[in-house]
Subunit: 330 residues, 2 copies
């Protein structure tokens, strides 16, 4: 029995939990639209349905999982508050979930995190605890805060309630797009891909589920090949949401339910992002461009297929463009 199959018996959630998560988050989360693009279909030869989680609250699917975790806490846990560690979309997602539900939120963030991300998280009312930018310092800071204040951790991906929440995007996509052959989404820590796989295979077992990650951060692909979690070693991909390794929960789901992991180079990711911006006129972040890149670079043969793609988020620093416009016109 391989390491992978050893993990597989311990998946405690499925379609039912994702459907309940969908009901739980419905009062607060957007049912995001699904867009199509003739330009994209012509380029890849398939029919592509883009599930626009860039239009989700906080600009990313992360709000689904964070809300589904925080909303299930008991009264005492809510009063004590929650904690997470992230400098990205998950931090803002937990902060907003806490704000909407009246739960205090603490976010441990490396002191090197961009000021704009820190400000956005504080804007939702979260308390920031800065730490040194190392894994050890982060874990120590989280442990100290939990010990001192009795906080509940909302992990960015290795949490079954978070995974169930992320799966709600795929459920909506299946309803909105009708019959599909394949669902494609990015994979970093694996929360979105795990939730997507559980939702899709639970609803339609014959439908393919494929993950996409940067070629220089292909730890998920290697983890599947080797049957054990491979560390990511902080790859400096522009898809900054996908630098993380899988966790035990997400690895278990992905090993059992995901058909394939594809990759794209940094140049391909940038080209795909630009294609979506220029031709579809929506802002997506680099992580969202990775699955699109696998449609454009030939890794995924899309010809004749109906493909659902989860565009994970739209949070990208547009300062260079606006600085150039301001310099020219103001």
């Amino acid at each position: 029995m391989s390491a992978a199959t050893a993990e597989l018996s311990s998946i405690p959630i499925g379609l039912d939990e994702i459907q309940r998560a969908a009901e739980r988050i419905a009062p607060h989360a957007h049912r995001t639209p699904v867009l199509t693009s003739q330009a994209l279909d012509r380029r890849c030869g398939g029919t592509v349905y883009l599930k626009c989680e860039n239009f989700q609250k906080v600009g990313a699917f992360k709000f689904r999982g964070a809300l589904n975790a925080v909303v299930q806490l008991g009264e005492a846990e809510r009063r004590a508050g929650v904690i997470t560690h992230s400098s990205g979309n998950h931090a803002q997602a937990v902060a907003l979930a806490g704000k909407l539900l009246g739960v205090p939120v603490t976010v441990v963030m490396p002191r090197t995190a961009p000021g704009v991300k820190r400000a956005a998280t504080e804007g939702y009312g979260a308390r920031i605890v800065a730490c040194e930018p190392t894994l050890e310092a982060r874990e120590a800071a989280v442990a100290a805060e939990i010990a001192r204040h009795g906080l509940t951790l909302v992990h960015p991906f290795n949490d079954w309630n978070v995974i169930a929440g992320q799966g709600t995007a795929a459920l909506e996509l299946l309803d909105q797009a009708g019959s599909l052959d394949l669902v494609l989404c990015p994979v970093g820590g694996g929360g979105l891909l795990s939730g997507t796989a559980l939702a899709v295979k639970g609803r339609r077992p014959g439908l393919r589920v494929v993950g996409a990650e940067p070629a220089i951060a292909d730890d998920a692909r290697r983890s599947l090949q080797l049957g054990a979690i491979q560390p990511a070693n902080d790859p400096q991909t522009l898809a900054d949401g996908l630098r993380t390794s899988l966790g035990p929960f997400t690895f278990a789901v992905i090993a059992r339910h995901v058909d394939e992991i594809l990759t794209a180079t940094e140049a391909e990711i940038l080209e795909a992002m630009r294609f979506v911006w220029e031709r579809i006129k929506i802002l997506i972040e680099p992580s969202s461009a990775v699955p699109v890149a696998t449609l454009l670079n030939g890794q995924l043969d899309a010809r004749g297929l109906r493909i659902g793609v989860i565009l994970s988020g739209g949070n990208v620093d547009v300062e260079p463009l606006f600085a150039a416009l301001a310099a020219r016109y103001l």
Copy 2:
């Protein structure tokens, strides 16, 4: 009788022509979506419905008017072909309309036009005739081409078929958004605002129609005040689609049917564009940001109102941002 009222008796189109234009363009034009944004509503105090013509074919409302003009040509005119002068969205709109309908298209473009715009227009199969970047050179080049090849001019805005086509966006908006108090759109040459005013006042006479233009290109506002067309004198606003003066047709409609013209500074336009990009996650060009800017800068008191805004297009040069990302990650 003022100059303005002298013109008013000569408006040969109304709601009927716009409804017929809508039927005519339906096989080719997108019925673009209407988006809402809690962030925008909170900022301005109203409820705003964004008609997303940035998602229209060629990335701008211009396709509606160009198609409605070209599709009505007789057999001989179609065979001879059409001509227009533009270095922007109208050029691409006529080029695509001609391509779809099998009509040859000639575009007179200043030789200083950005290579990317020239390439985009050529990409739709149009023939480009370069001219010196002056009004006289442009008019001479158009006249010479018409004399030599018997082409039909499709003017960017001073053409009743073009105006009727542009009005179809507002018709859709009224159907999609339900009851509104006010419709707001940018004004450059006035094709969009004229068509919008005819559609809105034809359908619901009590509804306010408001134009928005850059403060440094406020020729439409001054034209209304003075009762005669005021020239724009090539103002270097970043809203490059709004540098044009009104024409006799658009002035006549605007003088009779538009309630007010508001303005925004360059800094306000840039801020509004960034707000839409960052908070709503869609690409809009600076011209589209001008009406949004009048909601954010207090010129339009939006409190308690239901406001439809036509986002005119999404064609903006994103090169500075992608160059910065490429320099950092590739």
